[in-house]
Symmetry: C3
Subunit: 474 residues, 3 copies
């Protein structure tokens, strides 16, 4: 497919042979240096653990946080690499880029996130070090998710170097907004409706809006799926869907917090599937289902429970959240994405608007409402303090006030996404990043060695004869 016939009309230099290795090497070396200066094991992963157990009066190795959180961490890890990665393989000729660049930027992002989140949340000011354990790994994976969501809006239209830039700034912005929302505003957001999904969604949309491509229709032939690429994408969908209870419960409080967050998310997601199917079927003359909806909108319930999952939203409350977000998300794919593209000049390849931005925003406000409606009767006095962390200088905060702060936090996340995304978008407009031309998008040929097509497997004998003649010629 590299014959003159297939040359793009608008030539752009997509050669990343200098820029991509340079970015990878320089940034990775920077990571090593910064890790050397700042990152150390925390008491639970340090060889001094046995001493630590004695001084802290910990009775058993099983009390090491590793055993509370490692299974959830691995589920989250699968969501980041297989979930997001395979969800983005749905395009007929961009599966390598979908899963491969996701792999690259998440691998960079999690290192940078350990540093950024470390500086903001885990820095020991007496030693100047960041002490890490399994909870930090989960948070780093979470932090990457913001940038991977943004990638969903940009899929097929950017170069890997641009994606590295998106991730560098995405992780940085994430750490700042997370600090403001969780520490300054003292919000709760265990599964990240606000800090991950609303932020990541609007971040990606703002970038994509700035990078609007007026002639993108010239790549339309590749902007779609084939049968097997849709099945590959279902791998991503299902691993995201199945492990979302782990995502929303991974860093909640030990005990009932993790337990309840998992149950609520499980229920919301189940409910979402039914309403997604219903709306998808209704939207087509013959009642046929659209794979785009099944692959994406079925996940909206997990996004929308990101804040409220650890609260006492009650099982039927979770079902209601899933019910509504399935409908809203599917409608988004049917009507809002085309509207955004045609009227607002916003090209959103994976529809992150409908899967992350809006459900994330809703999740933030749902969290605010559920927080404001909390009562000692439902939570018990101790439970209320535990769940909302009403301790220290926040000991006297009322649930109503908490609800207000939760709502404010949602707005902060959106603002960071929009403003940060716009700025990053402008940076990405410099003509140095190796992005493809408008008629050359959604094509793995640009950045990957793509194998020949299957049809070209020649029959054995013919080929052998050919080889034999060749040998004789030699």
């Amino acid at each position: 497919r590299d014959t003159p016939l297939h040359r793009p009309l608008y030539m752009k230099n997509t050669n990343v042979r200098v820029s991509l290795p340079a970015v990878c090497f320089v940034w990775q070396i920077a990571m090593i240096v910064l890790f050397g200066v700042f990152i150390r094991y925390n008491p639970e992963s340090d060889a001094h653990w046995v001493e630590h157990m004695r001084t802290e009066n910990i009775s058993s190795d099983i009390e090491n946080d590793f055993y509370y959180r490692y299974p959830s961490f691995q589920d989250v890890h699968v969501m980041i690499f297989v979930g997001f990665g395979f969800l983005m393989t749905f395009l007929k000729r961009y599966s390598f880029g979908g899963v491969g660049f996701n792999f690259l930027i998440a691998s960079f992002g999690l290192q940078w996130a350990l540093l950024m989140q470390g500086w903001f949340h885990f820095l020991d000011h007496s030693t100047g070090k960041i002490y890490i354990g399994v909870e930090n790994l989960i948070n780093a994976d979470f932090c990457c998710a913001g940038s991977l969501i943004a990638y969903g809006a940009l899929l097929g239209k950017v170069s890997p170097v641009q994606l590295m830039v998106v991730t560098l700034f995405g992780v940085t912005l994430f750490a700042v907004e997370e600090y403001i929302i969780l520490h300054l505003l003292h919000c709760r957001d265990a599964g990240g409706s606000m800090v991950i999904h609303a932020f990541g969604g609007y971040y990606g949309l703002a970038i994509s809006w700035v990078l609007y491509r007026p002639n993108l229709h010239l790549s339309k032939r590749l902007n779609g799926s084939v049968y097997h690429s849709d099945v590959f994408a279902m791998i991503g969908t299902l691993f995201l869907w199945m492990f979302w209870p782990s995502f929303n419960s991974a860093i909640t409080d030990h005990g009932d917090g993790q337990h309840r967050a998992a149950i609520n998310t499980y229920l919301a997601l189940a409910s979402t599937v039914l309403t997604t199917v219903a709306i998808s079927s209704m939207s087509q003359k013959k009642g046929k289902l659209d794979m785009v909806h099944i692959q994406n909108a079925t996940l909206a319930g997990g996004v929308a429970m990101g804040t409220a999952a650890e609260f006492m939203i009650s099982p039927y409350g979770s079902l209601i959240v899933g019910f509504c977000t399935g409908i809203i998300s599917t409608f988004g794919y049917l009507f809002v994405t085309p509207f955004l593209e045609n009227k607002l000049k916003l090209q959103d390849t994976c529809g992150v608007h409908n899967l992350h931005a809006v459900p994330g925003m809703l999740g933030g406000f749902i969290g605010a409402i559920v927080a404001a409606a909390a009562s000692e009767e439902v939570y018990s006095r101790e439970g209320l303090i535990d769940v909302f962390d009403f301790e220290g200088k926040h000991a006297n905060r009322t649930v109503g006030t908490q609800g207000g702060y939760q709502a404010a936090g949602t707005c902060v996340a959106i603002a960071f996404g929009l403003v940060g995304g716009a700025i990053v978008g402008f940076i990405l407009k410099f003509p140095i990043w190796g992005d493809p031309a408008d008629d050359n998008c959604y094509d793995d040929e640009v950045y990957w060695e793509v194998p020949e097509d299957e049809e070209t497997i020649p029959p054995v004998l013919e080929y052998n004869n050919h080889m034999i003649h060749k040998h004789q010629d030699m």
Copy 2:
């Protein structure tokens, strides 16, 4: 592929645009209402947990059942959605329906199961509420499995609305037979050889028998795999195979019970693979292996260990069970499925007869034998009481009696499957469900928007020229 040339010969109305959304919406709303009335968090997932710890003298959060069972739950969850789902992608043009409808009906089924199993097993009669935790989620997933197994027999021949009906009744029947077997007969069946596999298998077979399609050969061109759909199916096979130890141990007793069930299942499955390969190779003139056997019969050992896995069957006993069931299941695919289709008018797409019905039945009887052979010497007095729950009104039951009840339980499961399936089959014969015609089966075109074929990707320049002319015309 929607040209007149491809119109099915026998037209049937497969439009589900009203019925599918109606079923999804109405049933989901019913779930919300019933959850609102009945379902609450149990003490381990409720915010009162800290108080509960104090009153129950629980020393640490790690004693929350979440940490005993959540990793197993997630493995089971993967089996239900990726395992069953991808196992059913093997057909060349029904992969969307295989994985997609599995997703839909499991999402409904688990909600209905929480209610049905709750009413029968977990209802607190003083408050009229069902209190749920992670064990209920596992049980709900288990309960879905029965209906998903039935789907295997019906794959490609029914509409999604019919599948919802299959699941509604399947879960209901499951809850009743489970109540009879586990509570009234006081059987042990941790991995569900009886209540899940024997029931689900015969339930699906009975439905399929009632729905016999005399002209199904007209769809024969699509009743088979292509190369890559077979590889997709191996994803399902492997996740089922790998996580089956978690399936059989997920709800067994804490400690040795879970530990032993996992070991036994692991061994039985390993053994099954070797005998499956042996029989598959022997059955073909040149010793070639058949993917159908590798995808399915390799799992029979897990099914057959569903009851006995938690017993002291001993490691070599597990190997023997796997050895025999691998042989039996592969013979089933070679001889019994064709026999059923040709002589008994029973069309079983995935061969659930060989993978679930017969191994499940065998598993029930193996469990009966192993139970009857139990002794205080092997189990210890306490171990015997723990494993078989010889407490309360069953304190004086002998192992021989227990064996008898186990065998009776197997028969109950089969009876429920056959009778229930026959009734549901007749319900599904009403001409209102939108099922496909005999010459239109195994085809995703009927219920899905299917993308164009890969071959139709036009070359770039040609396409661009075309687009440019189109633009000039506009």
Copy 3:
């Protein structure tokens, strides 16, 4: 594709209809007998557990090793069956063989490993029994990995019977070298850089070298990927990559040992991805990435951390290890594999030289250096004893000595691989194993019933007419 046109030039008898079933049956029966004689449940999986808890003063079921290790076990299990299996589906027409034979030999290998490792490490000399629990299952999976790595070098060129032989000897050799390295030399090697990767890699290379095929270029048309087979292989890559932290931590010490090993591996792997991408991009004129590198070299950091992961290598040390091995492994794919093939007559299908042999060897030496550099200051006195097991007759060993032994252990592993592999290679040269001819390699047609190609799906009506005529003819 079985027409005369496609007949291989050099006919070889690839019929395994007798040999494959015979090997499977006889060996499986041998397993049953040996398990009957030797294998029993250990106290944590035996029904006497409650008594054991009392006598050992264990306070809770959660202290059962099952809860410390089962989640890691399942991750390792996924790596063995889905990770290795799907990584080997990358060839365009050998995906069945890649994932299917991997399934077969791992299922046999883990049984044989339980026995072999049991005899060497877990035999209770007073009773003559091997008592197994979850740690044995992990070790058995590890032991299989050695042979699966060897399969990578042989992929597409051997018969399933030969693979069974490779596994039989591979597991045997593994158990012996492991005994020497871990017990006699008292090395630490939690993730098996030495005992698994260096051994397995050189074992496979030596076999492949002995089995050199001078006319393998005649199969060149099938020695490559197609688009979707590369995406399938990414499933394998990602599950290996994600779960490698579990692999390296699965059998390390409870508490900080598992925790630290997971963190170190996670970091090394992230770093490897960036340098792999950098070198891959640099190696091609236009900076395009090669899927072979992304699929394989990204994993080298996990291999190289197999020994040092549980040590206090420090987070930035892990990043450095990943950084270097990503570069080395990608260079291996670019230059060493072609060199080995052309100059050394060593055909290495998957490049196990670059992914396992060299990174494993490096991992062994890295472990030696890190061990030699250990200090009481960093580890604490107790920590040093715990991590390096300086107890009993090794109580007085210095870290310097330990480093020397670690280096010696690496050499033992390589020697066992090379010598053992050469011997096994000669055994496999006997003309009785049913291996394919040089112009018939990398082809599933040889050992599998392969479905017709997708293109041959006939249109509906045409086919139906045909069927109707056929019926009328009958």
